[in-house]
């Protein structure tokens, strides 16, 4: 009877840890999906830590939810490590940029002629 009461009392405190833990896990997951290298490990680690504190200190309250919260952060951390170590990032082909590079050659001769000339430009 006493234990049940204590468990009910600890529920709001546990909830205060689990909500930020879940948010951190979701942020980490979003960052890992985008592919921000190893940086998602930061929020993921914080999410896991808060989840574990809640799990061990407030045993018996929101147990399934706690496992889900920790799971989200673990998935985000694994995804982050996997993407950083196994996937080779590439630059996508960009025709507009390629044509920009070609266009830089236009007018080069006249610019260089200007650079080589001995005509002095009046300083403004």
């Amino acid at each position: 009877m006493e234990n049940t009461r204590e468990s009910k009392k600890s529920r709001p405190v546990s909830f205060l840890l689990l909500i930020p833990a879940l948010l951190l896990g979701i942020i980490a997951l979003a960052m890992a999906v985008v592919g921000l290298g190893m940086i998602p490990l930061l929020p993921a680690a914080a999410g896991i830590l808060l989840g574990l504190i809640s799990y061990f200190i407030f045993r018996g309250s929101y147990t399934a939810f706690t496992k889900i919260v920790i799971g989200v952060s673990v998935v985000a951390a694994l995804m982050s490590v996997f993407r950083s170590t196994l996937i080779n990032e590439k630059v996508s082909a960009d025709q507009a940029f390629d044509s920009t590079m070609v266009n830089t050659q236009l007018g080069i001769d006249s610019d260089l002629e200007d650079a080589f000339s001995s005509d002095s430009t009046v300083l403004e």
Partner: protein, 262 residues
Amino acid sequence: MKFWRHILSAISLTIILEINLFSQGGINTAFQSGESLRFKGSYFMSSLWADLAEVKIDVADLNSGGKSLYMITATASTFSNYDSFFKIRDLFQTYIDKNEVKPFLFKRIVDEGGYKFNMKYVINRNTLQAKFEFIRGPITRNSVIKITENTQDLVSVLYYVRTFDFEKVTVGKSISIPTLIDDKVEDIVITYRGKETIKTEAMGSVQCYKIGLSANNKAVVNKESNNIWLTADKNKVPVLVKAEIPVGSIQLRLVEARGLKQ
């Protein structure tokens, strides 16, 4: 009295020698046409990193107005997964004298998350003036900037530093290189910080010259932690660049080097 005169002469001679050793910079024995360097650009936060972009620098020959030039093209492009969030396609191009590593023309075409502008310097070494042109949408700005004999641009300064003979420079010595940044000339201070071994993807572990870089610029946070490592051989290839920015730090790591001179 004679003793002090000797001491003063010795100090003056040492200073002149140091200046001359750095001034040897400009005679190119470090790079050639066909050299291509590829770097990975990473952002660091609390010792964790994210590879964000690729930086490529290519050297090519160009003949114009009876002069032999190097056209050095540097591009910075974000990796494909970042393109939909913040796409960067930057282009820097400099045209330098083959023998003296002095720029005549510099172009910068910027596209950073939709923020676009074009910048150009036409650098006249006869009149020691640089014509500056800035175009952003309908806005065009022009000005003329006074330069000195040694004025460099943002790309040529790297290649100019590669021509220094660091074996003859004592650790801790500095030199200022006037560099065209935006619409003015700012001094970039190069400090030789000794040798270090750096592990690279492209070349394995290599001994490098550690060179400190600093400038009076808002983007530069901790002047001590902005460094570039050049291989301690004749090529002086940049293998690593580290710089601190207001939020974290950035790194450029050499991942591929082709067409090296030696």
